[in-house]
């Protein structure tokens, strides 16, 4: 036994090694758990660039918003089910929600959090507020009540399931943010030249913010004219977009492609057409923009036959696809129009206006001037006539065509001729202005949809598709995502109780 003990003593170094080796058992662990291929922070202006580039519109807006305002339509169902059949397809209604919350608002909020108390970057802080306000406006216009005050606080405040705010409260917030942010932008402070929207140009950012403010103000025309007037006047006074150089544009490139352009060049190239009401309106008024926008693959019997040799951009041959048909019932319309197949209807030209690298216009001088025309017509602003604003707006949009693609440019003489042939008529001004706004908002689905609901123009006939699942004539809002119903049940139910059923019929607050 003694011997055993003695031998056991030999083990001591062994025990020592074991214990020493293991006591500082987490040595170096903090260091090990630092991500060596990522940073704990990056210059927040680069994060704002992320929010900016993601502000471009979703492919879902082709299926819903552009369909509701009857600019595009598909006779096919499945993933393309939406406004074409007046049906609720949540795969598509979810898109604005996911894109703007996950990307734009998340990243802009990150910039706001990082810069709000950094005085040297006050311009960046205010730019982020403007980008965010733009996204919130698209969200609330789409869905009505949405998470706002509690949104984007998952990381900072551990709010995983934010409550929904009323649209009225969201608009109050948007107006406040835009007013404060544009006022606070200061050219004497540090300029954020890495910004991809305006290279940090304060004057342009101010115009962008004020133009959004004008848009927000006009949105309230139906629900609260007094506030609308006040906001619009404030925006105009602070300076809004006046030339196409002022436009807020995402200039897509090979790496950051135009999502809609990608869809219309890939899987859905042969499935989506310009709708008859849109084509007919442009044709009826001899609008030179039709040539910029449209193409028809004359005689195409199938998607594969939509080849360059058949392509015609001649306005005279364009035939928009009528609404209300599926890929079977459309055949009668094909026959009536003496077409080869539905693939023979007019499409938006995917080699020009919706090429993969075509720019996305978040807000333009043309839209701004047209809104001012309405404001002037309503006597909410003075100094410049409604007609002047109107003519500027139309001209600006026609000039804007060249920015999509050089081959879409409209000649100055054609613009003059158009304005001469289609003069401003005060008696029907609201319809005229807002119908032009509809054209000027082509490819900006959320804005075209919102303004159509607000103004009631253009005058469109309801989509006659049999077996629609809406009770009214037009879709009035998009439905909440399944993920919210599943995860954020309590709050989404509160919103539904307040606002109305979660369907395509319920009107949002400013549309009541």
């Amino acid at each position: 036994m003694k011997r055993i003990l003695k031998k056991s003593a030999l083990l001591l170094p062994l025990w020592a090694v074991t214990v020493v080796g293991m006591v500082s058992c987490d040595q170096g662990f903090d260091e090990l758990n630092i991500n060596k291929t990522a940073a704990l922070s990056v210059n927040p202006v680069f994060i704002l660039n992320n929010a900016t580039v993601n502000s471009a519109f979703t492919t879902g807006s082709v299926i819903y918003e552009m369909g509701i305002v009857q600019q595009m339509v598909s006779p096919n169902s499945g993933v393309l089910t939406g406004a074409n059949f007046n049906q609720d397809s949540r795969d598509n209604t979810v898109q604005n929600w996911q894109k703007y919350y996950r990307n734009v608002i998340r990243n802009s909020q990150d910039v706001i959090n990082q810069t709000q108390s950094v005085t040297t970057r006050s311009n960046l802080y205010n730019m982020a507020r403007i980008i965010q306000a733009n996204a919130y406006m698209i969200l609330t216009d789409s869905y009505g009540d949405i998470p706002y005050a509690d949104a984007e606080k998952g990381y900072t405040n551990q709010i995983f399931l934010p409550k929904y705010d009323t649209q009225q409260a969201v608009y109050a917030g948007i107006i406040k943010e835009l007013t404060e942010a544009t006022a606070a932008l200061d050219a004497t402070k540090a300029i954020e030249s890495a910004d991809v929207l305006y290279a940090g140009n304060i004057a342009l950012w101010k115009k962008y913010g004020n133009s959004l403010l004008l848009r927000a103000g006009m949105r309230l025309s139906k629900v609260d004219a007094a506030q609308a007037q006040q906001v619009v006047a404030k925006a105009l006074q602070s300076g809004v977009m006046e030339s196409n150089a002022d436009n807020a544009i995402i200039k897509h490139d090979a790496n950051y492609v135009n999502g809609i352009g990608n869809m219309l060049n890939a899987t859905e190239a042969a499935n989506i057409y310009l709708a008859a009401p849109f084509v007919d309106y442009l044709k009826k008024t001899n609008d030179p923009r039709l040539k910029s926008i449209a193409v028809r693959y004359v005689g195409a019997k199938s998607g594969p036959e939509q080849v360059a040799s058949r392509a015609s951009t001649d306005p005279a041959v364009q035939i928009g696809m009528p609404l209300g048909f599926d890929n079977n019932t459309i055949s009668a319309e094909v026959t009536k129009n003496k077409l080869a197949s539905f693939y023979d209807f007019t499409q938006v030209d995917r080699t020009r206006m919706v090429k993969m690298t075509a720019p996305s216009f978040l807000i333009t001088a043309a839209q701004t001037q047209l809104l001012l025309a309405e404001a002037a017509q309503r006597n909410w602003v003075t100094g410049t006539s409604a007609e002047t604003y109107y003519n500027r707006g139309v001209r600006l949009h026609m000039e804007q065509m060249a920015l999509f693609d050089a081959n879409s440019a409209v000649a100055a003489a054609d613009i003059d001729a158009y304005l001469k042939a289609n003069p401003y008529v005060a008696a029907t001004a609201l319809e005229q202005i807002n119908t032009q706004y509809w054209v000027a908002s082509f490819l900006n689905g959320p804005e075209a949809f919102a303004n159509f609901r607000r103004s009631g123009f253009p005058k469109l006939a309801p989509n006659p598709f049999p077996g629609k699942s809406i009770k009214g004539e037009f879709i009035k809002r998009l439905t909440y995502p399944n993920s919210e119903i599943s995860a954020n049940t309590v709050h989404v139910k509160e919103a539904i109780a307040r606002q109305g059923a979660d369907d395509l019929d319920t009107k949002v607050w400013w549309d009541k």
């Binding site: 055993i4 058992c25 662990f29 922070s41 060049n265």
Partner: protein, 1055 residues
């Protein structure tokens, strides 16, 4: 991180070993050898344990019954063997002891390999284990050897996923406990863990299941797992440690059990032994589709009559009438008639051919086993092959009387060519083929895969349904993995009753993968700008390294009737993985798929490191060799967790009582009886990825407008710095009985496992800025029982019938998530089409949720004004996707050397959401869509006003609600099945071999696997063919490859 720190320990061990080696001369040693035979027929007994009494020093006999051992003076040798009476012989001054052992019903000193590679007598164990002999792995084999064990082990659920020969297999022991994370058992080879990362197919938000996806879309193949590198011929034995107790010493990664693989390190006989094994099986794809063949291709009741139709994925056309024709592709007129047997026409018969040659030797001092193996698999998709070459060397050697070492090294080279895409849409051959219009001639589809420009000929307006022949000819993928894993262990006997052992093991692999996500000309992608052709190509290479270093001190002492064993040790684990990946889009030179040829380039570099340090110990007390109590403790430190939370200590205690030997008077029919009980805790960080404690930022690979674009690093999971390790606590009780001379034996266990403080990936509102968050919350309970019953109904000298029944019942309940409010839930996975998987407090784990038909108070279905069904306001539950019953029944007959066995297995009590049927419904192939073909579907029920519905809905719109309304109720099924899993017939020719014939041993078997589906509930598919390895998508079926029936032979020869 400093690698040096982790390499320090091996050095320490080496120094220590040298130091200790110097002291070896202190103890006198003798060498003893001999032969052990069966007392009845004098045949040699292989595998008899020969141990110096009161120590852990020992060996086992080789194939000829020989042993050779160094022993101290005055030693007593204990000879023991399963099913035989043990003998104790005092060595004295003998140098050779030949003895014979008598078969005994009473002594059942089976030895099993337990945690850390420690061998123990089975009767001492207070917890459930299952030992699998090598034959079960090699005779009737599957490409990934583990799949051949389905239905054979009580409480273990193994699924091949229908993803090709090199696909992942999914192993779950006693169900799944983690609410949204990993439930994979730990794989241990010769005491050291190896990596089992899987590259399974995981679209949807599969979250933290340790699988690795692919980039850039267009590729949804299953890239395999870590187990596929192992050649089953190298395996000597395999033990499954089922419960937390068994795994307590392996700590964090063992919360879901351990597969302990022991490979061969020694031959069985003097001199060089050569053995050869050849296995060939032929794989026939099985077609379970039962589609409608009354109405053919077309939409809205119209068949294609003009050129270039694009309804190739729809069977909502016209009723077939004799003489009708249809126009397909560029004006090809063919009969409008059903085209049957699409599955058999498209897929070929596959095959597996494995050849293994082993050289082995055993001597007084040790031995080795060296094997070379080649496996060639031909997948059923005509361009899919998998080749694996392995070299395995196992060795053991006694350097001196005190110092010995052993080790193994395994090299494998795997080439997986064109693993098929499944489950999603683009380039998924099964998805396109299973949904192809039922009148599309396959030969025409093949002939017209290209249009005039050499691009894909569009046959479906659903362009994501790539023509399967285009995919076959244009898409490629190469995955080449080189892997070396192995370990070396040095053991030093300090004292007769005490040894110290140091071990270093490394698993290293590199994996090169390249694939053209979208081949040039595929219809679903946009045209490239002028001067380029479209397409996407990805090239990536991964490197993985895991190093485990451990040290173990082990001793055993006996004081009278009392025995005491202990182990103390420590382990350092370090794991690093690197990824280099470049994805390019559009090419200058057509057909040249390289990253240099791409127009748009998107590179990624990824790095992940983690470490776990541990110390552990165990102590075992025994009384009179009938009562055993074992206690363990382990402390882990996790690098992925914050300093305050990263250390966790957890204990286990277990005991066993061999009551058959405890009392003087036991009934004679009771051969053996043992009760066991155990309680154990295990902590785990496995659901926490490195760096999930903080928000990290990155910069996109490409500038935008000349400026960087940044953001928080690609993660959609909200970081949480305060995560704690999750804890599992398991209690189990077991009973082992052998009755009537072992003609009846039973091993049964019940267990209750509580997994607490789970690291849950919870779906949160997008408006929070993230999609999911990791939270320490959640508690689940696994309760179940498992039993293994062996019966020998007939036993005569010439004939024996063995009947083995194993079955397990497991029910996993979610006890709490954020709170324990019943009904609170999280969504852990969403189906690629519609429906989702949730965990709900108070319900069984893995609930399938989705929208159903809206019904009024009296249960009548409700319809909209358009005659289309209305859907429920909320997602509703369809039950749990986890099988509750799992098991198998094996009958084995032996008649004069002829062996015939067949295995029936089952999984029952699980629901599934069938993506295949989802598509079959919306594309008009499912028989249920025959309703309403003429004049529309008149739904039976009421409208919103409560009046009887009178509106007929167009048939295609009506059935498309599964997609348009996400109304999945029609495609929910019971996912259970009964199958004839294996049939094996073998004959041992050995006794016919002439005495001096070079071949010593010869056995030939005929084998069949996945033979026949006896019963299933789901339409059109085999419920076994599943697609996803993730537990977050369990029950979310999406079309995989058809399962196959394999038939072949196995030839085993020893020289």
């Amino acid at each position: 991180m400093k690698m040096r720190k982790f390499l320090l320990l091996p050095k320490v061990i080496l120094v220590m070993m040298t130091f200790l080696a110097l002291t070896t001369t202190l103890w006198a040693q003798n060498r003893i050898s001999g032969t052990v035979t069966n007392s009845a027929d004098k045949s040699p007994l292989a595998g008899v344990s020969v141990v110096v009494k009161g120590t852990t020093t020992g060996t086992s006999t080789d194939g000829s019954g020989n042993y050779n051992l160094s022993v101290p003076n005055n030693a007593t040798l204990v000879f023991s063997f399963i099913g035989y009476g043990s003998k104790e012989i005092s060595v004295g001054n003998q140098t050779r002891i030949d003895i014979s052992l008598a078969e005994s019903a009473e002594a059942l000193n089976e030895v099993v390999v337990t945690a850390l590679g420690i061998k123990k007598e089975a009767k001492k164990l207070g917890y459930a284990t299952a030992t699998i002999n090598a034959d079960a792995l090699t005779e009737n084999r599957t490409p990934n050897f583990i799949n051949s064990l389905q239905g054979k082990i009580a409480g273990v659920n193994i699924s091949g996923l229908g993803t090709g020969p090199a696909g992942t297999s999914k192993i779950r022991i006693r169900g799944q406990s983690s609410i949204s994370g990993q439930n994979n058992p730990l794989i241990v080879v010769n005491g050291i863990p190896i990596d089992n990362t899987n590259f399974g197919t995981n679209p949807g938000n599969a979250a933290a299941d340790n699988s690795i996806g692919v980039r850039g879309g267009g590729n949804t193949s299953d890239g395999g797992d870590g187990l596929s590198s192992i050649n089953p011929d190298d395996i000597e034995s395999m033990t499954v440690l089922k419960g937390a107790t068994a795994a307590a010493l392996y700590g964090s990664r063992a919360k879901d059990g351990v597969l302990m693989i022991t490979t061969k390190t020694k031959g069985s006989g003097k001199g060089i032994g050569v053995s050869f094994n050849s296995n060939y099986t032929n794989e026939t794809p099985l077609d379970f589709t039962d589609y409608q063949y009354e109405y053919g291709q077309g939409e809205n009741g119209v068949r294609p009559t003009t050129p270039n139709p694009t309804s190739g994925q729809w069977s909502f056309g016209e009723k077939f009438q004799p003489g009708m024709t249809q126009v397909l592709f560029d004006n090809v007129t063919v009969p409008y008639e059903p085209v049957y047997n699409r599955i058999r026409k498209f897929f070929r018969n596959g095959s597996n051919f494995t050849n293994t040659v082993s050289l082995s030797s055993a001597s007084d001092k040790g031995g080795f086993n060296l094997s070379f193996a080649n496996m060639d698999s031909k997948g059923i998709v005509p361009n899919n092959t998998f080749n694996r070459k392995t070299i395995n060397l196992g060795y053991s050697y006694e350097l001196s009387k005190k110092l010995s070492f052993s080790g193994n090294i395994n090299y494998s080279h795997e080439y997986n060519k064109n693993p098929p895409n499944i489950a999603n849409q683009d380039n998924s051959i099964p998805t396109a083929l299973y949904n192809l219009a039922n009148s599309m001639p396959l030969d025409l589809l093949e002939a017209k895969k290209f249009n005039a420009a050499g691009n894909e000929f569009i046959y479906s307006r659903f362009q994501n349904r790539t023509n399967p022949y285009f995919t076959l000819s244009e898409q490629f993928q190469n995955i080449v993995r080189d892997r070396i894993f192995g370990n070396i262990s040095v053991k030093y006997n300090l004292l007769p009753w005490l040894f110290v052992q140091g071990r270093v093991g490394q698993d290293y692999w590199s994996r090169d993968q390249d694939y053209n996500n979208f081949p040039t000309g595929q219809a679903s992608i946009a045209a490239a700008p002028a001067g380029f052709v479209n397409g996407t190509y990805t090239q990536e290479s991964r490197r993985f390294r895991e190093i485990n270093t451990d040290i173990l001190i082990s001793g055993t002492q006996k004081f009278g009737d009392f025995g005491f064993d202990f182990n103390v040790g420590g382990n350092k684990m370090y794991r690093r993985s690197d990824l280099n990946s470049v994805l390019v889009q559009d090419f200058v030179v057509r057909g040249l798929y390289t990253v240099m040829n791409g127009r748009v380039k998107d590179p990624i570099y990824g790095l992940s490191e983690r470490a776990v340090n541990s110390v552990y110990g165990s102590a075992e007390f025994s009384y009179k060799n009938v009562l055993f109590v074992n206690a363990t403790a382990r402390n882990d430190w996790f690098s992925t967790l914050s300093p305050a939370n990263r250390s966790i200590l957890y204990p286990s205690v277990s005991g066993s009582f061999v009551f058959s030997q405890a009392f003087n008077s036991v009934p004679t029919w009771l051969t053996f009886g043992k009760l066991r009980a155990a309680y154990a805790e295990v902590g785990s960080d496995t659901d926490v990825s490195p760096y999930s404690n903080n928000l990290f930022y990155g910069i996109n690979a490409n500038l935008f407008g000349g400026q960087p674009v940044g953001g928080s690093s690609g993660t959609t999971t909200l970081p949480n710095a305060n995560l704690r390790p999750m804890r599992t606590a398991e209690t189990e009780l077991g009973l082992e009985l052998k009755l009537f001379d072992s003609r009846v034996s039973l091993d049964a266990a019940i267990y209750n496992k509580i997994t607490n403080d789970q690291i849950v990936s919870a779906q949160i509102s997008d408006a929070s800025g993230f999609i999911t968050t990791l939270i320490n919350s959640g508690k689940s309970q696994n309760r179940g029982f498992e039993m293994l019953l062996n019966l020998v109904p007939v036993k005569t000298p010439n004939f024996q019938w063995d009947l083995t029944l194993n079955g397990s019942y497991n029910k996993t309940k979610v006890l709490s998530l954020l709170t324990d409010t019943p009904g609170e839930r999280i969504t852990v996975g969403t189906h690629v089409f519609n429906g989702e998987l949730r965990q709900v407090v108070g319900q069984e784990m893995g609930q399938i949720y989705g929208f159903g038909f809206k019904r009024d108070a009296s249960g009548q279905m409700m319809f909209g004004g358009n005659g289309i069904p209305l859907r429920t306001d909320d997602l509703i539950s369809y039950g749990s996707a986890l099988p509750k019953w799992n098991g198998g029944i094996n009958n084995s007959f032996n008649y004069k050397g002829i062996n015939l066995s067949f295995l029936v297995d089952f999984k029952l009590g699980n629901m599934m959401l069938s993506g295949t049927n989802f598509n079959a419904v919306r594309h008009g192939l499912h028989k249920m869509t025959l309703v309403g073909r003429e004049g529309g579907v008149l739904g039976v029920g009421v409208n919103a006003k409560g009046e009887t519905n009178t509106v007929k809905a167009p048939v295609q719109d009506y059935w498309s609600v599964v997609r348009s309304l996400a109304l999945i109720e029609p495609v929910i099924y019971d996912g259970g099945f009964w199958k004839v899993r294996q049939i094996t017939a073998g004959y041992d020719f050995t006794r016919f071999l002439p005495k001096n014939f070079p071949v010593k041993n010869l056995k030939l078997s005929a084998v069949a696997n996945n033979v026949f589906l006896i019963k299933k509930w789901v339409d059109n598919i085999d419920p076994d063919s599943f697609g996803y390895s993730s537990d977050n998508l369990v029950g979310m079926e999406s079309t995989g490859l058809p399962t196959t029936r394999s038939i072949g032979f196995n030839l085993n020869a020893k020289f």
